[in-house]
Amino acid sequence: MTAMIDITDAGKTFTMHLQGGIELPVVRGVTFQVNPGECVVLSGPSGAGKSSILKMIFGNYRCDSGCIGIRHRGKVVDLATAEPRQVLNIRRSTIGYVSQFLRAVPRVATIDVVGEPLIANGMSRADAQARAGELLHRLNIPERLWQLPPATFSGGEQQRVNIARGFISDLPILLLDEPTASLDAANRAVVVELVAEKKRQGVAMVAIVHDDEIRHLIADRIVDVTGFAAAA
């Protein structure tokens, strides 16, 4: 099987110039693969570098060493050295990312926040809204809220809007940073179901999940991040 994500010896250190140039090693020697239809859960205590690894795979954090191979339109691209334009293309058509918090844009209606990734890939607004509506419905966001911007929603509602936005596209790689953190049991079950559907579609996923029960339900494999600890 050909891996969708193939990370070899990736490392990251922050240099804090404002604090006298302190070097803050985050991770080193990060090496693992993720195959299509597989969900790899990163484990390790807070501060072990799980979110940093996820951000490196998304190209949000730069990688100081090693290589992050991403299968993009049939070819392997090293995200660690890719041009900004190519990273944007990869995000548009290959890698989706569900962050912990929704970064809401003022004034944009919830239904459009969710449908935006589809519109960016050329789908008509009406079709995108229809699919966004289905997902919002499944995630129990009442229809009367769809036309409102999510900025005033509760934490759990914002998270569900964020999940809908992350799951709406048919991208072959999905990164999940604590997707169930502020959800109730019913909505956590919906997320588990959505992850299972993505697996059946062959999507490769990397997730951070603190909830043992959810981890047990979605993980095909666990990668322990403490092995990549960079601290001396």
Binding site: L18, N60, T81, P84, R85, V87, N89, V105, V108
Partner: protein, 265 residues
């Protein structure tokens, strides 16, 4: 693996090569090079005096560089060096394929003529002569930038600051340019007015697939609008990359200072 990181499809729209500008002994801008692609939004950030406005003026052909050059792919697909363009050609480019949104709308608008005429003027400059169609298109654009069409015959000097800025944007976009330069477009506005303008700009840029070079000292503006960012200091580009990468993982001391200086809302 690096050789497989081939850039996908299209050619750049604008290419800057080793641009420098000195005023006497002052080097306002030193050795700036980059390529801008269709539909790409590039933010140039840095404090006052970092050289960003000088750079913008050179990129838009308003200031001759001391060294280096800027080339632009015209609508006919031919790439031309800006310095070889005649004055008439350059003005034509400015009226058709380019827009320039100034911080002060009074610089980009004619304050004493009606809003409709401000928008219609750009159309007439490219040969439109049917009064009804010009007025209709101007009304459409006022609506798109959220100005009440009932105000079409009023002069912008009777408008609020936010409305003037939206009118300036309509005037620039009516000829469907491919590249728009923006110099601190939200500069003098209240925050609530700023948010509305940013949101409007964001959707128009995406809808029209505009390439934009935006100069701003406001990192929140850069984050909301741009794909890529160049950080300038002392006339040089000190850091460049994807906007979220530079803002979330700044590498240079000065960029770290800029990012850490943002006040939490």
């Amino acid at each position: 693996m690096a050789d497989q990181n081939l850039v996908e499809n299209d050619e750049p729209l604008l290419v800057a090569k080793s641009l420098s500008k000195s005023f006497g002994r002052i080097n306002a801008c030193r050795d700036v090079s980059f390529s801008l692609y269709p539909g790409e939004v590039l933010a140039i950030v840095g404090e006052s005096g970092s050289g960003k406005s000088t750079l913008l003026q050179m990129l838009s052909g308003q200031l001759a560089p001391s060294a280096g050059h800027v080339s632009y792919r015209m609508r006919d697909g031919v790439t031309r060096d800006l310095t070889t363009l005649g004055e008439a050609e350059r003005r034509f480019l400015f009226r058709t394929d380019w827009g320039f949104v100034h911080q002060d709308p009074a610089q980009g608008l004619r304050m004493a003529v009606s809003a409709g005429a401000n928008v219609g003027e750009r159309l007439m400059a490219v040969g439109w002569n049917h009064y009804g169609r010009i007025r209709e298109t101007a009304s459409d654009w006022l609506t798109r930038v959220e100005i009440d069409v009932a105000r079409i015959d009023d002069a912008p000097r009777t408008y609020s600051g936010g409305m003037r800025q939206r009118l300036q944007i309509a005037r620039n976009l009516v000829t469907e340019p491919r590249l728009v330069f923006m110099d601190e477009p939200t500069g003098g506005l209240d925050v609530s007015v700023q948010a509305r303008l940013l949101d409007l700009l964001r959707s128009l840029v995406a809808e029209l697939n505009l390439a934009v070079i935006i100069v701003t000292h406001d990192l929140a503006v850069a984050r909301l609008l741009s794909h890529r960012v160049m950080v300038m200091k002392g006339g040089r580009v000190i850091e460049t990359g994807l906007t979220d990468q530079v803002l979330d993982d700044p590498r240079e001391p000065y960029t770290q200072l800029l990012v850490s200086s943002i006040l939490p809302p």
